[in-house]
């Protein structure tokens, strides 16, 4: 176990293991900090900036992203200062202006107290993707396939398969669909095929030899069978029937 560190979050004196981030410690102690690009299974990324908190160190305070900031002895954190709130609201306005009609964003905006962005409505967009990069990171860090990536720069940035074509390395596992906070990535299943719509990738499903259920794409099962060095035919039956 790592060394314990003393810190204060919103006037609560806390102790936590060195190496953790402010966000981790806050959540462990039931302190709510909104996030969009954070997932505990993935490396923190710091793109959505919603998890901003104000820290004070050596009598100087500044805003940091709590998902990335490592805790340290004597750190004083405030999660709801005027500055934090003002910034979070502006970030929410920016998100809303990008993602009109996206439920997850509208719900979060309501929670944070933002109604409509102050920008001219004629410039609003209906983009379902917030570029949080969760799908790309899940694909790379958890699945290990890196079938998709963030392409282009700045306002042209988007998530895509190589050359904006079919994602050849995609195994159809659907991790990206699962992890997407705005339900932008769509997956469809009909009969014995599964399609990840956004990456234009279609897969044949494996039928369980016992119950007959189409339980996972063949390509995904083969990928894991090889990766985990499992015998041929290991996935002939579904996990439920095994």
């Amino acid at each position: 176990m790592n060394k314990l560190v003393n810190l204060t979050i919103d006037s609560r004196k806390l102790q936590a293991e060195e190496g953790k981030t402010v966000l981790e410690v806050a959540r462990e102690n039931g302190i709510d900090i909104p996030t969009l690009c954070y997932n505990e299974e993935l490396e923190p990324y710091g793109a959505c900036r919603l998890c901003l908190v104000e820290i004070t160190k050596n009598n100087r305070s500044r805003l940091v992203t709590s998902c990335l900031y490592p805790i340290e002895e004597g750190l004083v954190v405030k999660t709801g200062t005027e500055k934090v709130v003002a910034n979070r609201k502006m970030l929410m306005e920016l998100l809303l202006a990008r993602c009109q009609g996206v439920k997850a964003i509208e719900d979060l905006a309501k929670k944070i107290g933002v109604d409509q962005p102050s920008f001219k409505p004629e410039y609003f967009e209906k983009n379902g993707c917030i570029l949080c990069g969760l799908c790309v990171r899940a694909c790379a860090e958890v699945v290990g396939t890196s079938a998709i990536s963030l392409v282009n720069r700045g306002v042209n940035r988007e998530v895509a398969a190589p050359f904006l074509e079919t994602a050849n390395d995609c195994i159809g596992c659907g991790s990206c669909v699962y992890v997407c906070p705005t339900d932008f990535i769509k997956m469809e299943e009909t009969g014995d095929t599964r399609t990840i719509v956004n990456w234009k990738a279609t897969f044949k499903m494996q039928k369980c030899q016992k119950c007959g259920k189409n339980f996972a794409p063949e390509k995904q099962l083969e990928y894991f069978r090889k990766k985990l060095n499992l015998p041929q035919g290991f996935f002939d039956v579904c996990p439920d029937c095994r």
């Binding site: 710091g46 793109a47 959505c48 805003l63 970030l91 700045g154 306002v155």
Partner: protein
């Protein structure tokens, strides 16, 4: 560091194995050189290339051969001396005669008159546009006279592809001193005492950075030279790298020794082909002399440098993005809560400094921290190179002691505003610097003062604007640049700059709303507080300072639908001032839409507003100022 092998007196061809051998080589180079012998030092830097300086250089060689002067005159191809707008440039040593706007056909005359007969060719001398005074010597020209060219001076004296030239001006003696007379801690102490701060923009104390990297626990550490200069109009690092790459390398080797690093990278943009070529040549030459690589000067210390070329993304000037790019990844920054001195390139302790910072090091080692810290202000020591561009009479690369008054830079070195127009503002620090108005012209230019007035030192770009510059339009230009260069990783920078640009475009198109100024200020605050890297957190500076110092211009655009500077096309109209127009018709033909009709001599021309696209061609052509902008 390994055990020190004994200096080998019988060095392999060219390789120097001890400080003694270095000094012996230096002495032999200097012995062969006669300081009284004339030397034509012609600039063949990137700026002067456009003036055909390569042909001029060849013509000098031919002319010298023709007049059989090979044994009595030298010709040297130097790189940028900063006064690029006056190219092609040359200085004739030892007298220091300075010729500007030299053309191919001037070559025989220069050789015959100045080299052979010792006479000056008057028409090639610099004439001050304000006083009409002519100057024969470089050192007397106001543009140069008020500078302190600690780093740039060598640019006009050496051929950067010749290591002999660098050795002749004392090159690598600081390295020898460090390796044989100083412990790494002493080197760091000296750099700390000098007060040197990073020249790349952040202004972090260099010695402290070195110390943190030295103290970080890891066997492998990296030193990196940031030559990813990308600010519009800036060419400080480029010129140093092109003109004196050995000084940068020497600084890096000294830094590596102090930090305990054996591997270094020069990250340099691909669009700087001459700088890439010259630094690669310099590395090869330094290696062949045993000044770089294994067992440097027989000290046992080894250090290798590799060159990595960047693709030209502005954000890669940001240290963490640069390191990602070096690793072969997409050049995107990451949070620096864990400093790069602890975990940088390949997660190893890494020390990154800018070209100009590295080039300062040999001077500090040789002349001492006391000498260095005697130059500059309380908090900013030494000199700083600026690229002074825009609406001043003398544009170019300048080097001044920290603390020089902004007014002295604009009016003293820059020679004031062109065409007798009125000064409006100077923008410092690159695209994310702020505008500094007339009322702050007397500030002492250093890191802290520039920040205090809402701008920044940045890399040292300085863009002067005059009364014909619209501050809203200018802010829009920079926001547009930054929006394009934003990597798009973090929300406030990507989305915030996009919205800012929309608002500014609305304002310059006459569609601004009264609440837009407040909204811009709010957006700016979020960029500053919430952006991931310095590109985003400083991006709002041009907008914030433009609002702070030129709010009336914003209001004129929004409330009165008027652009006071006469720049924003949707808000202006061109018209002919009938009393002034003699009907010469000079403007008729160039008008691209045939909007101007010739009537008769002595009758004013007629401008058709329907056809006018507000390109400003007629306005620029008319010498009599008979075209008005409203």
């Amino acid at each position: 560091m390994g055990s020190r092998p004994r200096p080998n007196d019988k060095a392999p061809a060219g390789r120097l194995n001890s400080p003694k051998q270095l000094e012996a080589l230096r002495a032999s180079i200097l012995n062969k050189r006669d300081p009284k012998r004339p030397c034509i030092a012609l600039c063949v830097g990137t700026g002067c290339l456009a003036y055909g300086c390569v042909d001029i250089f060849q013509a000098f060689n031919n002319e010298i051969a023709k007049q059989k002067l090979q044994n009595s005159v030298d010709i040297r191809a130097t790189r940028c001396r900063g006064f690029c707008e006056r190219g092609a440039l040359l200085t004739i040593y030892p007298q220091g005669v300075f010729y500007q706007r030299v053309k191919l056909e001037d070559v025989p005359e220069i050789v015959t008159e100045t080299i052979v007969k010792g006479r000056i060719v008057q028409r090639l001398l610099y004439t001050d546009p304000n006083t009409k005074e002519q100057y024969a010597k470089e050192a007397d020209i106001p543009f140069y006279k008020k500078q302190q060219r600690l780093l740039l001076d060598a640019n006009s004296k050496i051929d950067p592809t010749s290591i002999e030239d660098y050795l002749a001006i004392g090159g690598y003696s600081a390295l020898a001193k460090v390796l044989f007379q100083m412990k790494p801690e002493q080197v760091i102490e000296e750099v700390k005492k000098s007060g040197l701060r990073g020249r790349g923009g952040g202004g972090f104390p260099t010695g402290n950075k070195w110390q943190s990297t030295r103290e970080a626990h890891d066997e492998i550490k990296y030193v990196i030279c940031n030559c990813d200069e990308g600010d519009p109009g800036a060419f400080m690092d480029r010129s140093l790298m092109e003109g004196n790459p050995h000084s940068v390398l020497e600084g890096m080797i000294i830094g590596a020794y102090a930090i305990g690093s054996h591997e270094g990278y020069v990250y340099i943009r691909h669009e700087y082909p001459m700088a890439v070529e010259n630094v690669m040549t310099a590395i090869k030459l330094a290696e062949s002399k045993g000044l770089l690589g294994s067992n440097i000067l027989g000290s046992g210390f080894h250090f290798k440098v590799k060159v990595s070329r960047g693709g030209g993304a502005f954000v890669c000037g940001e240290s963490t993005a640069l390191m990602a790019s070096l690793e072969g990844k997409v050049g995107e920054p990451r949070a620096k809560y864990v400093h790069t001195s602890e975990k940088g390139l390949y997660n190893r302790p890494s020390n990154l400094n800018n070209v100009e910072t590295w080039a300062n090091i040999p001077h500090i080692i040789l002349k001492g921290s006391d000498w260095f810290s005697s130059i500059g202000t309380m908090t900013s020591k030494g000199t700083k190179i600026f690229s002074l561009v825009g609406k001043v009479n003398n544009t170019g690369l300048i080097e001044v002691p920290m603390g020089m008054k902004l007014r002295d830079i604009v009016y003293g070195i820059g020679g004031g505003i062109r065409d007798g127009k009125k000064f409006k503002a100077v923008q410092t620090g690159g695209p994310s610097g702020g505008f500094i108005p007339e009322s702050h012209l007397d500030i002492a230019v250093d890191f802290d003062e520039l920040t205090r007035v809402g701008s920044m030192m940045g890399s040292g770009a300085m863009i002067v604007t005059d009364e014909n510059t619209c501050m809203v339009d200018m802010a829009k230009y920079f926001v547009g640049f930054l929006q394009e260069e934003s990597c798009g990783k973090c929300l406030p920078c990507r989305e915030g700059l996009k919205r800012m640009l929309q608002i500014l475009t609305d304002i310059t198109d006459g569609r601004g709303r009264e609440e837009d100024i407040e909204l811009l200020a709010r957006l700016a605050a979020t960029l500053k507080d919430a952006a991931l890297c310095a590109l985003g957190s400083t991006a709002a500076n041009p907008v914030l300072t433009a609002i702070k110092y030129f709010r009336d211009e914003y209001e004129a655009h929004i409330k009165d639908h008027r652009c006071p500077a006469g720049v924003c096309k949707p808000l202006i109209t061109y018209s002919i001032i009938n009393e002034k127009c003699p009907g010469c018709g000079k403007c008729v033909e160039p008008c691209p839409t045939k909007a101007i009709t010739f009537v008769a001599k002595k009758e004013p021309v007629i401008l058709d507003q329907e056809k006018c696209i507000k390109c400003g061609t007629c306005y620029d052509i008319c010498n009599l100022k008979a075209v008005a902008i409203k």
